[in-house]
């Protein structure tokens, strides 16, 4: 119970944020909000020791029991690691935002409500063991991301970016839901753990491959993989704390989480390995290549995030290879999954700090344009140090944590060519080559980021105001992250044993029984010259050369025609959707009431008659009918004539009289059919109605003058005849087959004993269904008030009355 509740603590806290913001103006709201992720981080930290031993914690409360839907918190190595990232980085980001967002100018209550909402949603994603609740939280992260990107909603770019991210991630989310439903159809359960347990049986299922593809749509859109990455650069319009948090450290890793979580189910498939590894590597290369093109600091970081996410993704794909190898736990294939999780932690630390530095530069200089920046090293020494640590780690240099995971990444990629199945023995050699080239570009953009900003010539005339070092409060969070970058390099095995191995065990449960079975030791120096080290040295040398020569070859980016980019495709598609759907809607949304009524009547007729035919429900039986009496036939003739008058009458007065005659005939029918109460009511009501009609008629003298015979219209006639036929058919069928016995006997038996009345109809109305009658009176009262209001209301019309055309 408690464990599930932790997920919702941020959401509950969000309720109080607006009140705190309104009532306590002097203290930045962020200080209060900070308590939430900090507390949760401490709570989750208490799980670390036990989870590291291989324990798992399970807790659930039913949500919609009738549909077998429950909210479940399942904490194993993988979800605990993510929960710690969410709350840990979350605390640092909130702390940073306190100094980033001005308490007087910004709408802090909105910001923190969205942020806390996101926090709950993200915790839900990584802890849910139930597919449907996982989907629910998944979409909630998309929505809160949308709100946060659009936080400065007066800017066009913010709204555009928000919408773009929403369209793409929600599209992927829906695909993923399809995959989840297929998984349920195959396995008969919504629980991920149970699905993993029956994974070997699922592979044979014909739907398996579809579930796989649909699920990857969700993961690839969320984690900004090729070609869906286009939303992430536009999402940089969000305030920088949001970029650091959602679009670098946590939300974009939800796709990574999804792939990792479902690896035990899908790893058996060849397609899974090819897709995840291939798309990951392509994204890695694509992102790193285009990062060098960018001129905006945050855009560089966005593309670098895309690229790094691709790296982790490809490692997860390579990790699935271990499921196909005998004795994988001791083979060279064991590294990939470990490297994926290890790099995920490292990426969160160095990329988080870099984003915060980008925010600081923006905040202090007023620009993020790398062409205007330069020479800030002496002015902002602390920021420079942090940025250098982050960038060098990203580039894969020692003594920073990125070096370790980059080495391991290369190991994993090199191992792929030794894999003997699925054509990897021929194509596998491509993987290390692509990885190597992408790493060179990673090196280049890392240096591009830090050197262009901090070194070079300081040009004070380019800044709006004199830049200076950021306040210390703003530097705390990036400094903590940067020191982690260094610390992890020196204690990688502590991190590995505590966080990485339990998570790896969750990804590869069939290989290891407990986290300590994973025989991996991280080391910066392996005691010999390894191929990875040679590759790293190559990366550094070629990277430095290319970086120095950057002005000479940067022109190749201009060669790419804008018409061929994915952004252009997205814009074109959105425009076409907009225009096309608008056109379609205009086809049927004519604004004419009669057209809508035509749709409704034809729809209801088609559905009803269709059902009668499909279900073979029509039947005709003459049993149990009442006898036909001659005066009844006379009444029927009168009724028909009255009805015909309403249709064919030339004058409206005649039509009203026709309606009145129908009403009185119906009253007579009530008399014949033993319903005296109805007859009385009908007579009274009919009299008042006719009087009302005539009153309205009297007040509208012009109506009478513009008389015209109604023209015969074929479509109207067809629809009305169809409706008439439908009602007759249904009436006949309903009469001829009584599927359920009448419940009226109950009233007949109890009306005197329980309600003490003799007139059953009246007792039903005032006693059994007394509330219905009460509401009926209320409805009449409301109608009466509305009528009064309409008569009293006189619109102030400034313009001329509506002109008829």
């Amino acid at each position: 119970m408690l464990q599930v509740l932790y997920i919702f603590i941020p959401m509950l806290a969000a309720i109080f944020v607006p009140f705190i913001y309104k009532s306590i103006k002097n203290i930045h709201t962020g200080w209060f909000v900070l308590a939430v992720p900090a507390t949760l981080a401490v709570i989750y930290a208490t799980y670390i020791a036990r989870v590291a031993k291989g324990e798992v914690f399970y807790d659930g409360i039913p949500w919609i029991p009738s549909l077998d839907i429950s909210v479940v918190s399942y904490l194993d190595g993988l979800s605990l690691l993510f929960s710690l990232l969410i709350t840990g980085i979350g605390s640092l980001v909130v702390l940073y935002s306190i100094f980033y967002l001005d308490k007087h100018k910004e709408k802090l209550h909105n910001f923190y409500v969205y942020l806390l909402l996101f926090m709950s949603a993200m915790l839900g994603v990584v802890q849910s063991d139930h597919l449907i609740t996982l989907y629910f939280f998944w979409e909630l992260t998309s929505i809160s991301s949308f709100l946060l990107i659009g936080y400065w909603y007066t800017r066009d770019a913010s709204r555009f970016g928000a919408l773009k991210s929403m369209m793409i991630t929600v599209f992927g989310g829906l695909m993923m839901l399809g995959g989840f439903i297929l998984l349920y159809l195959m396995g008969g359960t919504y629980s991920i753990r149970e699905l993993i347990a029956m994974a070997p049986n699922l592979v044979q299922h014909p739907l398996f491959i579809w579930a796989l593809i649909l699920l990857l749509f969700g993961a690839f859109t969320k984690s900004a993989q090729f070609p869906f990455y286009i939303w992430l650069p536009d999402a940089m319009e969000a305030p920088t704390p949001v970029s650091a948090y959602l679009h670098s450290a946590t939300m974009v890793k939800a796709g990574i989480y999804l792939v990792a979580r479902f690896t035990p189910i899908f790893a058996a498939s060849e397609l899974w390995i090819w897709l995840v590894t291939g798309v990951g590597l392509l994204t890695l290369f694509w992102g790193s290549f285009f990062a060098v093109k960018q001129t905006d600091l945050k855009s560089i970081l966005a593309f670098s995030t895309v690229s790094q996410l691709g790296l982790i993704m490809s490692l997860l794909g390579a990790g699935a290879v271990a499921f196909h190898v005998n004795g994988a736990a001791d083979s060279m294939f064991k590294y990939a999954a470990f490297a994926a999780i290890f790099h995920l932690i490292n990426h969160a630390t160095f990329k988080g700090s870099l984003f915060m530095i980008a925010g600081i530069i923006d905040h202090e200089t007023g620009t993020r344009d790398i062409r205007r920046l330069g020479g800030l090293m002496s002015i902002m020494p602390l920021s420079f140090t942090v940025a250098a640590i982050g960038s060098f780690s990203m580039a894969g240099l020692p003594p920073f944590n990125g070096f370790l995971s980059k080495e391991m990444f290369l190991t994993a990629m090199l191992s792929l060519q030794n894999f003997e199945f699925f054509g990897f023995d021929t194509w596998g050699v491509l993987f290390p080559i692509v990885a190597w080239i992408a790493s060179i570009f990673t090196f280049i953009y890392s240096f591009y980021f830090v050197c262009r900003t901090f070194t070079g010539k300081y040009k004070p005339e380019l800044y709006a105001h004199k830049p200076h070092e950021a306040p210390i409060g703003m530097l705390i969070s990036p400094m903590i992250l940067a020191s982690l970058v260094v610390i992890i390099f020196f204690i990688p095995n502590l991190i590995g044993d505590t966080f990485v191995k339990p998570a790896v065990q969750a990804i590869q449960p069939f290989l290891y029984n407990a986290p300590e079975d994973i025989n991996i030791h991280v080391a910066a120096w392996h005691g010999e010259i390894t191929p990875e080290l040679v590759m790293t040295i190559g990366i550094v040398i070629i990277g430095v050369l290319l970086f120095v020569a950057l002005p000479k070859w940067q022109g190749i980016y201009k060669l790419f025609p804008r018409a061929l980019t994915f952004n252009n495709a997205y814009d074109k598609m959105m425009l076409a959707l907009d225009v096309g759907l608008n056109r379609v809607s205009r086809l049927y949304m004519t604004g004419s009431m009669r057209h809508y009524l035509l749709y409704m009547f034809s729809g209801i007729t088609a559905i009803s008659i269709g059902t009668l035919f499909v279900k073979d429900a029509f039947s005709l039986s003459f049993e149990g009918t009442a006898p036909i009496r001659s005066y009844e036939l006379i009444l029927i003739v009168v009724l028909m004539i009255g009805t015909a008058i309403t249709i064919f009458a030339k004058s409206r007065l005649t039509a009203i009289i026709g309606l009145g005659s129908v009403g009185y005939t119906v009253a007579l029918f009530f008399v014949i059919f033993n319903a005296p109460d109805l007859a009385l009511t009908q007579l009274v009501i009919e009299t008042i109605s006719v009087a009302l009609f005539l009153l309205a008629f009297y007040h509208l003298p012009k109506l009478g003058k513009r008389e015209e015979r109604m023209r015969f219209q074929l479509n109207r006639a067809i629809i009305s005849i169809a409706v008439g036929v439908m009602v007759t058919l249904i009436a006949l069928s309903a009469h001829s087959q009584k599927l359920v016995p009448t419940i009226s006997k109950y009233y007949e038996e109890t009306v005197y004993s329980k309600a003490g009345g003799g007139n059953i109809v009246n007792v039903i109305l005032v006693d059994y269904r007394g509330f219905d009658t009460l509401f009926e009176i209320t409805v009449l009262g409301i109608a009466g008030m509305a009528i009064l209001a309409m008569i009293k209301l006189r619109m102030n019309r400034k313009e001329k009355p509506h002109e008829n055309k």
Partner: protein, 113 residues
Amino acid sequence: MEIIMAFVIGFLFMAAVYLILSKSLLRIIIGTGLLSHGAHLLILTMGGLTGEAPPVLKEGAKTFADPLPQALILTAIVISFGVTAFFLVLAYRSYQELETDDISLMRGSDEDE
């Protein structure tokens, strides 16, 4: 009798729909009136017309008419009256404001044009 009534009700519905699909507001209101008459008779007929006495408890009564449809119809009559009255006043007012009772001339709002 129920079979014949089924056709009568169908006829009522047909006429009602035909009127509702017309352009004149007054005819539309008349159409809704006919529609409710049709619905009332439909409910009553579906309950069966074989009862020999009104549904009132008294000595010597053999079979009652079904009371439940009657209770429903009683409510429906009153509600349909409320709707009709509301419609009428709405038509009257919109005629006063817009100077037409032709709904095809009423479509759209001023901003659209």
